[in-house]
Symmetry: C2
Subunit: 610 residues, 2 copies
């Protein structure tokens, strides 16, 4: 079982912790301290030892920052967590504020005296965040001060968990599709071409991709925590706890890099600076790295991590793996949806039992390494909470007349999946059907888009929304995110959203997941993963265009479709998709599930009068 | 006649001029000099005295930068001018390079020695341009040096034209819709709210809007060249040649501001800095202003010109004016298109005679103050040149079997227009009709879009392209730009394009002009101006959505429409648009033109089999 269902504990003694932190702050002569959710690896899922925000405040969300001043404190969270946070933290001590409506800079300007000093851990913030905040504080001459030691860690003391020591395994070339030697050579060629002496890699997924290794240091993402320096020529150096390496991993890595203890990193960075080297570093790397490497004759080139783009553009072997993973996962999902239809009338299915069953069915493939994130299993009003995570306190039965939304995914050696389906429990209302169909129209508009080279995710996002906009509806999240290959389920640079400025390139995998959420009533989301295809000529056209190959093969609930609202082309797409699902997934199923699949993917006839 | 048709003169003695400039550079101890197209007002149309690039090189395009080094020189132009520039300049002396394919920084790094100095006029460049270039030059330690005097002006000497002294007129409140006093009060309230002591206004259209004045210092834009300082409280100060003011204008302006000579500006900025003031300044203002105002205790807040947004959001009177202007202009356009259909069979119509006729018909309204830009009158292959401007050397007859593209506009006291129509001359090919219909589908997709608050132009742009993309086609310009109210025909911040990051707000006017261009064959563009409507509830919806009211009322050529390619909704839109054109414009026309309009706007029947 990769998922657990206990409610997160309220931060019982956060009052005392914050009071003791304020004492440490006074001794360090700072007037306020930033405590962000985040670690030095920019991880989405933090190891226990980096859950400083939860330790201090009790807030367990995946994003947020506490600001602790001498006599007051605030917690800034985004819209996703504005309901959860006040339930988890002691609101007498911590004022909970929503990012976008309140600004951290304004709170500090209001709270602190002119000339005050705000401390921060330079390993936990990229330069842009610090620069932006500094600008907001300039009017009152409030200074930001990087601290040599993390005060929350000092407070935590011996109780603080050790850094994880998850075993590292070699990711075989039959899944990776390219040797680590070849990848290293390409990165080094890029450095030489750009006149850079080295690159410092600070994102574990990049290092795992580059060196063809995987790990188990955090939940859901099969990564190992490490830093690396890759020089333009010569051997790379990998900074990682050697306890994580068995003989095979050690042998594999020693061919590729010098293995060093994490504590050696600082002096190696200093050596690069002293030697006046030009070093490439991601703008998103913590400011600690930028400060270590810049200054004097040395030069930091702020440019994207060079692994990110080749990692996002899956190679032919990875694409083959993705198709296999989705076939396997689609069969598990079909078994799950068939089971749901059979069992739901009993009235005994609830969000947790459904989620547990889904994980069992995925485990039954014998290929499941992890789930790719905690399953979002939401019935009725819980489906309207975009990042809902069920626990025993919120668990609800799946009731007739409601919708059930399930967003889940798996980590297989050959690929990472992520799929959302919305299912009618009993008889849906006409409104549910109409709004499901509007979301479906958006989903199809993305799936069928053709677009020339240079098109970015932001240029496709509106297609997912147009039908909803016409009905005076919308959804408040992006349409899609990039997905890794047995790596992070959220992977850059590509994405389909209002901020999706990376161009879409062949081999990239991106989710297509428009939705609609009626607060307190129901949620709808339809998500497939899409592979960006190679550019090709259209007959009679001039420019090559790309498109999407849909990887996810899972039936969409026909009971929620209003055929009259679909154009002939949209209906044809849905029916053709279901034919594909039936043909690919059908042979994987036993007779009972197969019979279910046949009716679940049967063609929807053209409405009369067309 | 506002437009002339002589070909631009080739820079005959540019070799000598550049040689003399290189002598001046040597004396000023600089190794290279930047000579951009642009002036201290960020004008689109330059006064003669600022046409330094044309004076030096002979290149007359509306954008470009020459870089003159000791022994070589280059001219950087964008894709629009890559054909024109080499015909205008002496390519033995000036290497013509295309922005995007070549980089100025790389050219300088390649050309200059380490530690070299590149001079620039700080009044002609915003900080971002200089900063970006400085970063590109850092690797070779090449420095950028602001020069106190413009070396091209020194070279030009007494031959340089004087700054323009176009008369300033008061723009009456019956067109402006709001008094200058009220506008000033709102700007001052905004400054107080943001804790800023003053704003320095460097864009003439902002000053004209704010003070309800218009001028005639440059072609096509009815602006007067001026700078202004507006303090958070107290009287504004306007820096402008007093020779441009008659008694009425003087009396109007004296109520609003202290009138000062332009040469007083520098010391006034220095005084703000010395007093340690916090001054708001647009990031797009020349670096000269930023340097004058920043440093010591003084603070420059880089924020958008506060006039830009209220100026873009037209008030009720301006909207009423826009509708009246478009009715008047639509009638002139209908007379023109009717005349064209009657006269084209004679074979005597060419691009110039058509353009002259159109200006005559607009002048015949008795309301024409100026044309809003040089008419793009392109037949056959000339229609494929996006920014084509006809002259006696390029003039072509309108020939049967070709398309004719005409993009034009007028400046009336009550509004600015901009309209493009593509007309079939004789029998068009099926390909022309199909591609026209694809462009039309994109145009209709914009015209009919509904969108929630917060939607930006970039979020609508893809709708204009989807049908073309599906056919493997596209166009290489934005879909639309903002338009002023008897002001610039290109006005920010709004726009519909890949870079359109400003949110669309009610009252904004934006063009809707998708196109398709077949190089060497024909061009298609369909342009209307659209007014962003107030947000309103959709029946059954949750969020208020905005949309567009089409202002332009001119028939679209039915002979180019393939009805089978339009959906029922698209065809209904086209027919309803033509009904509106007929009803509003018809009564303005004489019997012959009226008869033409009736057939040109007749309903296209639904194709059989639907």
């Amino acid at each position: 079982m990769f998922q657990t269902y206990e409610p997160a504990q309220r931060g019982g003694d956060s009052g005392e912790r914050i009071a003791r932190l304020q004492e440490l702050m006074a001794r360090a002569r700072i007037d306020a301290l930033l405590v962000p959710h985040g670690d030095e690896y920019a991880n989405e899922y933090l190891p226990e030892c980096s859950e400083r925000l939860a330790f201090l405040t009790g807030f367990t969300g995946s994003a947020g920052t506490a600001v602790v001043a001498k006599e007051s404190a605030a917690l800034f969270v985004d819209g996703r967590y504005i309901l959860q946070a006040p339930r988890q933290v002691d609101t007498k001590i911590l004022e909970v504020l929503q990012v976008g409506k309140a600004k951290m800079g304004e709170w500090l300007v209001k709270t602190l005296k002119p000339g005050a000093v705000v401390g921060f851990d330079p390993k936990l913030h990229p330069p842009a965040t610090v620069d932006d905040l500094a600008e907001e504080l300039a009017s009152k001459r409030i200074k930001l001060k990087p601290l040599a030691a993390n005060l929350v860690d000092r407070l935590w003391g011996k109780e603080r968990p050790s850094p994880p020591k998850g075993a590292v395994v070699v990711h075989p070339i039959k899944y990776a599709g390219k040797s680590a030697e070849d990848k290293l050579a390409e990165i080094q060629a890029a450095l030489k071409k750009d006149g850079q002496d080295a690159v410092v890699l600070t994102f574990p997924p990049s290092i795992c991709w580059l060196l063809n290794i995987r790990g188990s240091d955090v939940a859901h993402n099969p990564i190992t925590l490490a830093f690396a320096i890759v020089p333009a020529s010569g051997k790379a150096e990998l900074f990682m706890d050697p306890a994580k390496l068995d003989d095979e991993a050690k042998a594999h890595l020693r061919r590729l890099a010098k293995l060093s203890e994490p504590k050696a990193l600082g002096e190696r960075l200093t050596a690069l600076k002293t030697a006046g080297k030009t070093v490439r570093l991601s703008p998103a790397a913590p400011i600690w790295f930028h400060r270590k490497l810049g200054g004097g004759k040395a030069r930091v080139v702020r440019a994207s991590d060079p692994c990110v783009l080749p990692q996002a553009r899956k190679n032919a072997i990875e694409i083959k793996g993705a198709r296999a993973a989705h076939k396997r996962d689609g069969a598990a999902m079909a078994r799950f949806l068939a089971w749901l239809d059979r069992e739901v009338p009993s009235g005994r299915i609830d969000e947790i039992s459904a989620s547990v069953k889904l994980e069992e069915l995925r485990a039954g493939t014998q290929a499941l390494k992890e789930i790719s994130f905690d399953t979002i299993s939401g019935s009725g009003p819980n489906g309207a909470i975009v990042h809902y995570r069920v626990n025993t306190g919120t668990n609800r039965a799946l009731k007739p007349g409601e919708l059930y939304l399930v967003d889940s995914g798996a980590q297989y050696l050959d690929g990472t999946t992520d799929v959302t389906r919305t299912v009618a429990v009993g008889q849906p209302t006409r409104e549910m059907q109409e709004r499901f169909t509007l979301v479906l129209k958006g989903h199809i508009a993305i799936a069928t888009a053709r677009f020339p080279k240079g098109t970015r995710g932001v240029d496709l996002d509106p297609f997912a929304r147009r039908a909803l906009w016409e009905a005076g509806l919308d959804f408040d999240h992006g349409t899609g995110h990039g997905v890794g290959s047995y790596l992070s389920v959220h992977e850059g640079p590509q994405g389909i959203s209002k901020g999706g400025m990376a161009t879409l390139e062949p081999g990239m995998i991106v989710s297509n997941e428009p939705g609609y959420y009626k607060k307190g009533a129901y949620g709808i989301r339809i998500e497939n993963l899409e592979l960006v295809t190679e550019p090709e000529k259209v007959p009679g056209g001039e420019r090559e265009v790309m498109g999407f190959e849909t990887l996810t093969l899972v039936p969409m609930d026909r009971r929620l479709v209003v055929p009259e609202m679909l154009s002939a082309a949209e209906l044809a797409w849905l029916n053709a998709y279901h034919v594909r699902v039936r043909e690919v997934i059908g042979p994987e199923l036993g007779p009972e599930d197969r019979a279910w699949l046949d009716q679940a993917t049967a063609a929807i006839p053209t409405p009369r009068g067309r």
